[in-house]
Amino acid sequence: MRLHCFTHLTYAAAALILSFAATANAQTEPEPFNSLRTPPSPAFTLLGIEPSAVERPSTPADFALTFLNKAAELPSLPKNFAVEASPFWLKSHPTLTWQLDATRTPWQSIQRTFTVSTATYRRDENAATDVGIGFRTSIWSGQLTDATRTRLTNAANALGRQGEAFLDLIERRGGAALRKRLQDGELTTEQFNVERAALIATVESSKEFQDLAKPIKDLAVSREGFMLEVAGAATWQFAGEEWETRDLHKTGIWVTPSYQSGHWNVVGVLRYIGDELGDDASDVTEWGARPIYTTATWTASVEYLRRHVTSGTGENTYRFAGIVERRFGEDTWVTATFGRDRARDGKAAGLLAQLGLNINVGKERFKF
């Protein structure tokens, strides 16, 4: 049975690889490949959850309101609650153009990429609630690629031309007469705003407008150069949802240096996960690297990850694998992984052979 499955897997992997030959010469700049970076929400990762609803307030008022809404559940802890926010982007930055954001000093990078995440998760199996808090930031975040700068410049020009066509439509459909009434003093500015808004709405519903007003596609913003991301998180377990019963459960620190240039991306990782509770409490340090080659439709990489158990149960082990991904359509990825998996749960290191399908992935495509 195992040989049968392995044969099928080999054929599937071969088909996957053959399909790459047809697109190996793609010239399109690859989309940002950030699935190997530090977890975007460290608190969620350490809790081992994927929240179905994450509050992402966009203003300081929204942020406060998010917590006030949950205060109604006090003195007990909220059952399942997740919030993630980027403090820098909670307020407007009217003078920060995309051109000024093309390169960042370390302090600017830290400010603009710093996020905090917090979550609660109720575990039905032991009637305890886990609470996690985490942060993430990039000390270095590279710079916009030349291709991205060109795309954004072209996009700005295209949006300007779209605006010219729209103004022309408005002018021809009553805008000229409306403007004359303003100039002649027949309308106050408030009255003009109301009538102009109505005229704009009419033009927006026209077929002419629908044909010309489309968002610019293929505006993936790519950065290249050296990047360094760090993240940290801690979780506490509250047995019976009482404050006094809190116990530190897990801590985690991630450091991810990487270098992106053209189709190549080399990612390194150093991470520490400490588990303080349970019979198999342990502290684990992992380090490794992965060079990745990416095109618009496929990626290929080799991964080495070393695991060192500094305390507790478990043995030192490592994982070495080749990973190939192929994109089909907009959001569907097929992943083939082959290599040596690390020892797990008391079992010896084994063969790693996986074929996976990810649809509509907006997060990590595979774990590191």
Binding site: S58, S92, A156, L159, G163, G175, L182, T189, N193
Partner: protein
């Protein structure tokens, strides 16, 4: 389109007799945008790189002229759906700065700023 939003506003700006004004349009919050201008219904060129345009010519009286601006901003910032545009006018007795901000309701959505300036003189 879903996620598209708009801002409509009109402002009064005092000008100096027979003197052109300079407009600078700044698209903030690390978003991308382009601007189109019409003065009394006629297109006015704007430098896309600097966002600067000269409104009127030396000797041209801008009193009761209407400048219509349309800035179309597309959300490209993965960290924020907020857009902001600032219109700065100089050349009259006093400079004027007119900031606006609105958030798109969906990623990669468009925000359109329909801002009109009515020029006048004392």
């Amino acid at each position: 389109m879903a996620g598209d939003v708009r801002v409509v506003d009109t402002n009064l700006y005092m000008v100096t007799k027979d003197t052109p004004v300079q407009l600078r349009v700044t698209v903030g919050d690390a978003q991308v945008g382009g601007t189109a201008l019409r003065l009394d219904g006629m297109p006015v060129p704007i430098n896309p790189a600097t966002g600067v345009a000269q409104i009127g010519q030396p000797g041209q009286d801008l009193k009761r002229s209407v400048l219509e601006c349309l800035t179309t901003v597309q959300d490209i910032n993965p960290s924020s759906n907020r857009t902001s545009v600032t219109y700065d006018l100089v050349g009259g007795p006093a400079a004027g700065s007119f900031p606006y901000t609105i958030s798109v309701t969906a990623d990669k959505g468009l925000a359109r700023y329909f801002i009109t300036f009515l020029f006048d003189r004392t």
